[in-house]
Amino acid sequence: MIRKTKTLMLILLLTPSLAVAAAAEEPGGFNMPYGVTPTSHDVYDMHMLLFWVCTVIGALVFAVMIWSLVFHRRARGAVAAKFSGHTRLEIVWTAIPALILVAVAIPATRVLLAVNAHPHPYVTVDIHGSQWKWHYSYPDQGIAYYSNLKADSRKASREHSGISPATVPYYLRDVDHPLVLPVGKDVRLRITGDDVIHSWWVPQLGFKRDAIPGFINRADIVIDKPGIYRGQCAELCGAGHGFMPIVVKAVSPAEFLAWVTQSKKAEAAEHESEQGPWTRQLAMTQGKKIFDSVCAACHQLNGKGIPGVFPALDGSKIVNGPLAGHIKFVVHGSPRNPVMRPFGKEMNNRQLAAVLTYERNSWSNHTGDLVTPEEVEKAR
């Protein structure tokens, strides 16, 4: 009986290392994804090399130990030997691990240098981590937009939502506007943070890089294969840390160019509509668009916020109060809570007027105000 328990103990202690060996390869399985960039392939190979080195070392050490545990028991009549050292053996087991480490360090250094090479980019994207969404801009193409968690995930994740996450496609891993990149071309990502430190990570691309305010981190990648690749923020960045996914849509260069043309056309059309006479209808349409991409990460699409964490705008005293106070709050930010930052710095007067109008006339708010760009300008 006692022997049985002890055998059981050995099996239990060993199971973990066996389980790793059975690891599968597909993303979302047991193991790191092989990925779709040369970097990710190198990283995967490095990971597997390390895994096997560690497994073999672990297996050897555990084998010797288990041998002792089984055969050198007093219950089996073992008598303790007297030795307490063996210089040659100790030199050997200092030298061999050191040599193994050198053998691992050489390919690691090679991969590291390759990953940090900087070829001339075909397209550059500026990535800003922002509480709690990503902002992508293509400086050479003149395209810029926010990428937010999809509304259905947001709704389902809420406490007592009554919606099962299992019914939501790509729960917490889907966005309204993905990052579009061409395959087979050098892409440069310049990553920074607007407020706190975030980290941009898509496992299939093979790296993560922190988005740090005041720093611009560079990552150069080439994507091999068209497809949709998903990831999320990897550095604790506050209440919405678990809710800022990343979706990369990799398309052929031709499709990418088509997307650029189309996006620019759409942006131009939008710009034109924005130029029209300032009407309530225009302000509401434009305001909703801005609110959904910039404000909803905290205040939620239904304006109800999250009790105890993010204030509701629906029925809020500030939103339904005097206009001047509301404008000041949005343009200059909250005097007490840095998460409500001064949006006057990142939006123009028309955009601010639109979003203010939208907030004052949505949900159960019926102030009837049409905020004008001039009123915003006065508050600056």
């Binding site: 790191m32 050198h72 307490s84 480490l101 496992p203 999320q232 550095e235 998460v339």
Partner: protein, 539 residues
């Protein structure tokens, strides 16, 4: 003989022994203070454990069921801080207090009043740290690493409580470290050479130097955060010309020695237990001492391996990759030597040995995943995922905590004078060792599959791992109640332990009665006794 000597010690400026609460508040006795440390850390283990249970309950399935995201961040933060600063570290100091004077043949610690103060600071640090839960904006929520600017501009007011709690705990640790250094250097039995000191004493000596070296750095980082928050400085604020990454450099310059502060004394414990139950001298004990020294020295040169994703220069990444890999060599030596100690021994598996053997297995798994994390390109993927969570819990729970529990089971008969309940202690072991693996092993997979740390809700492909982890965690948490039961039973009574309850045990502590006299060695043990109980006593 010992009674008269004690009377002399008691008469020289010592007040009559106090009773009731005043005995514990005013005590300058190393055993009483050791007990206070150990009981306090056990309570903190449950406090931090309850936070972990809430975390695991929230992560049991996708969606938010129990807590709001911001409160979840507070749970993660407070769990880490409580376990590190209020559970593991005080427990190790408690072991040092009880054992070091007995193991080196001293009457008490060298600085008894400082000893008292070091302990009594801790409950205040606890109150200050946890008071944040009562504030309207909640407890600190920037992670136990409290990275700026999340801890400066964006943190709730309770961050200031945390900063002062860190200062208080730092003072406590530094004084504790100094006390241990002074005690070991000055109060050793005359016949005990430095090189012949027990491994537990050696590991603690080196740890104490690390404490005195590292804790002021943490205090500095915390003070700079305080100044950024309230006094208009911009140490970590890029908008003011500061550098958010500087915080991480300073923090990890403390933080990496800190992880060795938490593991080295556990190495010492294992180096005491394994020879006892193998009935064989520790293999290569001098190289073990050098290995600990090398680990401690190198621990101050590896800090940036926590920061491979921040965009350091490639040359820096290579440097820290090499130094981190190098630290695996002395760590490997330790494991090999423990295995060689068991080789051709006469092994028995009493409860302390079970914990020690599982420590060697599971710490090795944590060490090997650490080796994988050292590799920069691979770390671009591992960093900030559950793979790291798995790694750090393998070295901290199945490493430090298992070492501490093993030590308690090893020395509890000495401390209480009673043998504990063998059957329950074995149940405690088996339930713990199975459930701890059920909890933490799947986290490797969750991390490799792409799950980041510190998120309150997750995508569906991580659901299975999390459910398994949560079940394991609940069993592990509940199993620890058995530990409390065993300890309370042993304090209240049981079969007399005798001087030397373990037949293979060597060391001066086993020459004292169980429980030992108030002042362990009022007169130094004879050279002959020191020799017989030392490393050369086997011949």
């Amino acid at each position: 003989m010992s009674e008269t000597a004690e009377a002399v010690m008691g008469g020289e400026g010592h007040a009559a022994p106090l009773h009731g609460w005043r005995r514990w508040l005013f005590t300058t006795n190393h055993k009483d203070i050791g007990t206070l440390y150990l009981v306090f850390s056990l309570i903190m283990l449950f406090a931090g454990g309850i936070l972990a249970m809430i975390i695991r309950a929230e992560l049991f399935e996708p969606g938010l069921q129990l807590v709001q995201p911001l409160f979840y961040n507070s749970l993660v933060t407070m769990h880490g801080l409580t376990m590190i600063f209020l559970a593991i570290m005080p427990a190790l100091v408690g072991l040092a207090n009880w054992q070091i004077p007995m193991m080196i043949g001293a009457p008490d610690m060298a600085l008894p009043r400082i000893n008292n103060w070091s302990f009594w600071l801790l409950p205040f640090a606890f109150v200050l740290m946890w008071a944040g839960f009562l504030t309207p904006q909640g407890a600190p929520n920037a992670g136990w690493t409290f990275y700026a600017p999340l801890s400066t501009t964006y943190a709730p007011p309770s961050m200031d409580f945390l900063i002062f709690a860190i200062h208080i705990m730092g003072i406590s640790s530094i004084m504790g470290g100094i006390n241990i250094i002074v005690t070991i250097f000055n109060l050793r039995a005359p016949g005990m050479k430095m090189i012949d000191m027990p491994l537990f004493v050696w590991t603690w000596l080196i740890t104490a130097f690390l404490l005195v070296f590292a804790m002021p750095v943490l205090a500095g980082a915390a003070t700079m955060v305080l100044f950024d928050r309230h006094f208009g400085t911009s140490f970590f604020n890029a908008a003011g010309g500061g550098d958010p990454v500087l915080f991480q450099h300073i923090f990890w310059f403390f933080g990496h020695p800190e992880v060795y502060i938490m593991i080295l004394p556990a190495f010492g414990v294992i180096s005491e237990i394994v020879p006892t139950f193998s009935r064989k001298p520790l293999f290569g004990r001098v190289s073990m001492i050098y290995a600990v020294g090398a680990i401690a020295f190198m621990s101050a040169m590896v800090w940036a391996h926590h920061m491979f994703a921040v965009g350091l220069p490639v040359s820096a990444q290579i440097f820290f990759m090499y130094t981190t890999m190098l630290i695996a060599v002395p760590t490997g030596i330790k494991v090999f030597n423990w295995v060689a100690t068991m080789w051709r021994g006469a092994l028995t598996f009493e409860t302390p040995m079970l914990w020690a053997v599982s420590f060697i297995f599971l710490f090795t798994i944590g060490g090997l995943s650490g080796l994988m994390l050292a590799d920069v390109p691979a770390d671009y993927q591992y960093q900030d995922t559950y793979f790291v969570v798995a790694h750090l819990h393998y070295v901290l729970v199945t490493g430090s905590l298992f070492g501490i529990i093993g030590a308690v089971y090893y020395w509890l008969p000495k401390w209480t004078g009673h043998m504990y309940n063998d059957r329950i202690s074995k149940w405690h072991f088996w339930l713990s060792v199975i459930s701890v693996n059920v909890t933490f092993f799947p986290m490797h997979f969750a991390g490799l599959a792409g799950m980041p740390r510190r998120i309150p809700d997750y995508a569906l492909q991580f659901a299975d791992y999390n459910m398994v982890s949560s079940i394991g965690a609940f069993v592990f948490g509940l199993s620890q109640l058995l530990f409390v039961w065993v300890i309370i039973q042993a304090i209240r009574g049981g079969a007399p332990a005798g001087e030397r309850p373990w037949d293979g045990a060597k060391g001066l502590e086993w020459t004292l009665s169980s429980p030992p006299p108030h002042h362990s060695f009022p007169t130094p043990p004879s050279d002959e006794l020191v020799h017989r109980e030392g490393p050369h006593g086997y011949e």
